[in-house]
């Protein structure tokens, strides 16, 4: 897991002096005050910060949902700031996989159909290819036996796995997870972390935004934000195994 220290890896994300100002009435709120860092292919990065630190704004910027006021953002080599709305939508569709805290699955819809969703907006996939890719992703997150379960028939952990499969289905350059374990109990959280570590081991780039410092022990790099600035950016030489932590947890009584 020490791949992150090799420097000849491809640059996935490059932020250059990103600032983001919001106008709230008369006042100007500086959510980001000059954030710069790069993330290479295959890194598993935690972005931490308390509420108000600017981590949500940073996540929106990284996810191409928001445009910075100043500075430039390159996603997989593409400058994002000058892009129009529709171009950014297409970029999100091809390069980014989102995992949200509250899963955001379509109600009363099967796992396959939920996972297929990003490919529905990509005209180069036909119905057969969509289905193949969706099944492939669901198998990768360990839900090969629940392909046709509907979202309301699944537990929180299963729903989050479906959401992760949905984030994988378009083979994105980066997976953006926003408090992906925030709604889950400890055991299930570790199960999801195990899954993320597995994806990381397969060489995927993952950014995990959280306010839970414990998560940082299981990722390869940790960026901390405070008041719109990066206050620390450290590499983790001793990545803990989530699978081991899961094994040590007391068994549930059910």
């Amino acid at each position: 897991m020490d791949k992150t220290f090799t420097t000849n890896k491809r640059e996935i994300i490059r932020l250059e002096g990103i600032t983001r100002d919001f106008h709230v009435g008369e006042e100007i709120v500086h959510a980001l005050r000059g954030v710069s860092f790069t993330i290479n292919e295959g890194e598993f990065v935690t972005i931490m910060g308390t509420s108000g630190s600017g981590k949500s704004t940073l996540l929106n910027t990284l996810g191409c949902l928001d445009t910075p006021t100043k500075g430039e953002y390159y996603l997989d080599g593409t400058p994002v700031r000058s892009m129009g709305k529709n171009a950014r939508a297409t970029l999100r569709n091809r390069k980014i996989g989102f995992v949200f805290q509250s899963y955001n699955l379509l109600p009363k819809t099967t796992a396959i159909e939920n996972v297929e969703l990003p490919l529905m907006y990509n005209p180069s996939f036909n119905a057969v290819q969509r289905r193949e890719k969706a099944i492939e992703s669901l198998v990768a997150v360990g839900l090969g036996d629940r392909l046709n379960h509907k979202s309301n028939q699944m537990s929180g952990g299963q729903m989050q796995r479906v959401a992760i499969a949905r984030a994988l289905v378009n083979s994105p350059a980066v997976i953006l997870a926003d408090e992906a374990t925030g709604n889950l109990d400890t055991r299930t959280s570790f199960e999801i972390l195990v899954l993320f570590q597995k994806l990381h081991a397969e060489g995927r780039t993952i950014i995990f935004v959280t306010h839970n410092p414990e998560i940082a022990c299981y990722t390869s790099r940790n960026i901390t934000l405070k008041d719109g600035r990066v206050v620390s950016d450290t590499y983790n030489n001793n990545i803990l195994s989530a699978a081991e932590a899961l094994a040590k947890l007391p068994k549930n009584d059910d």
């Binding site: 929106n60 709305k85 297409t90 569709n93 949200f100 955001n104 529905m120 907006y121």
Partner: protein
């Protein structure tokens, strides 16, 4: 994103909310159904009036000597002697838009048979008159051209006259009746036509050769009128032009002179009566159209609720790559699907309801294909129009806020 995918997504969203979708559709179903039923009833009564008129001969044209002024006194039409036999012959020979012409002279008086008598009118006409007025001979025969040449004292009588004169039920054919003391032999009887739409008894008449009436009853050489049939109802105007040209020429009228004859067509009457039912149709359709509008507002209302309820879904779709126009199309297709499905059911329901009205209430109906097409087109447009604003609202949502919407 392609159209098939959009329709799939919209169908799935509707399937997730079947009851709500159906209730929304109900507005459109009732709207379209009532528009079709009301138009069918309106058009049905129009058709029934038109067919009554055409029983009298919808292409009939009547020519009378026109009001003339002599020494400042306007003369009664029957006193005029301007219509001659030559006019009749020229109309027969020279016109292209007229299929049949009959001269007409008439006289009213008492008809007597044995001890019975009744007031009636005797019409002096030619055999073409039967076709023009849509009369049919029931028993016996119509008189012939030869009877006209010889001014034969023969006649064909209507049902009312027979009922009054032959109370014992004997066969009237071959019997001799007297009209103003002149004997006429009955050679045929007419099929009953009943009362016309203005309440006139169409069976109280006696038909005889016009020459007989001219010579033996009225002692005149002119005609009191001419009755013609235009080739078709649509050619009535051309036929009237032809007739008036011939009459003006024969009567040696200068370009500045007024006509000395009057031409009236059944079409005028028909237009007057059908304009009344047209008015009724428009009113009925307007009321039904309002219910279609209410149905449309129902769609708009539900689509707004749906957009608000599915804000997070919209946010998610946008984050994973849906463009504004994809979201717009998705919701628009959803509302069009509601209205088109509702429209289809409404068409079936409207046609069914019309048939029930016809079957149970014996009310004449006529379903015009264009009324079905029109109400279907209107409800599709309703779907687009009332679905547009909610869909636009959905497309303009900010994905950052939408995805975290509680």
């Amino acid at each position: 994103m392609n159209g098939t995918n959009l329709i799939k997504i919209a169908l799935r969203a509707l399937a997730n909310n079947k009851l709500r979708g159906f209730l929304t559709m109900l507005g459109i179903i009732i709207g379209v159904g009532s528009v079709i039923t009301m138009l069918a009833i309106g058009q049905g009564s129009k058709k029934s009036i038109q067919s009554q008129i055409s029983e009298m001969g919808s292409n009939m044209i009547m020519i009378q000597p026109g009001a003339d002024i002599r020494g400042g006194v306007r003369q009664d039409a029957s006193a005029m002697e301007t219509l001659k036999l030559k006019d009749y012959e020229d109309i027969v020979n020279e016109t292209r838009y007229i299929s049949a012409v009959s001269p007409s002279v008439n006289s009213s008086g008492q008809v007597i048979f044995g001890a019975n008598n009744t007031p009636s009118t005797i019409y002096g006409i030619s055999p073409e008159y039967l076709d023009i007025r849509r009369y049919k001979v029931e028993e016996g025969d119509m008189f012939t051209e030869q009877d006209i040449q010889s001014a034969a004292k023969v006649c064909v009588v209507g049902k009312t006259v027979i009922d009054e004169l032959f109370k014992n039920g004997e066969n009237p054919v071959g019997k001799v009746i007297r009209f103003n003391k002149i004997p006429f032999r009955i050679i045929g009887t007419l099929e009953s036509k009943g009362y016309n739409s203005m309440g006139m008894d169409q069976d109280n008449l006696i038909l005889a050769p016009y020459t007989t009436i001219q010579k033996r009853i009225l002692a005149i050489t002119h005609l009191q009128g001419l009755t013609c049939s235009a080739l078709k109802e649509e050619y009535t105007d051309q036929a009237i032009d032809e007739i008036s040209e011939i009459l003006r020429r024969n009567h040696k009228l200068k370009a500045t002179d007024d006509d000395d004859f009057t031409i009236r067509s059944q079409q005028e009457l028909s237009n007057m009566l059908t304009s009344t039912t047209d008015m009724m149709t428009v009113l009925l359709a307007a009321v039904a159209g309002i219910s279609l509008l209410v149905g449309g507002i129902g769609i708009m209302n539900i689509m707004y609720v749906s957009v608000t309820e599915r804000t997070r879904e919209i946010g998610l779709r946008m984050s994973i790559g849906a463009k504004g126009r994809d979201i717009l199309a998705q919701f628009l297709i959803e509302s069009i699907l509601i209205s088109v499905t509702g429209g289809l059911i409404g068409v079936i329901l409207g046609v069914g309801a019309s048939l029930i009205v016809n079957g149970v209430a014996r009310f004449p109906i006529y379903i015009q294909p264009w009324s079905v097409f029109l109400s279907f087109a209107v409800c599709t447009l309703t779907g687009i129009f009332f679905g547009w604003y909610p869909a636009k609202k959905a497309a303009q949502l900010d994905p950052i806020e939408a995805i975290r919407y509680e």
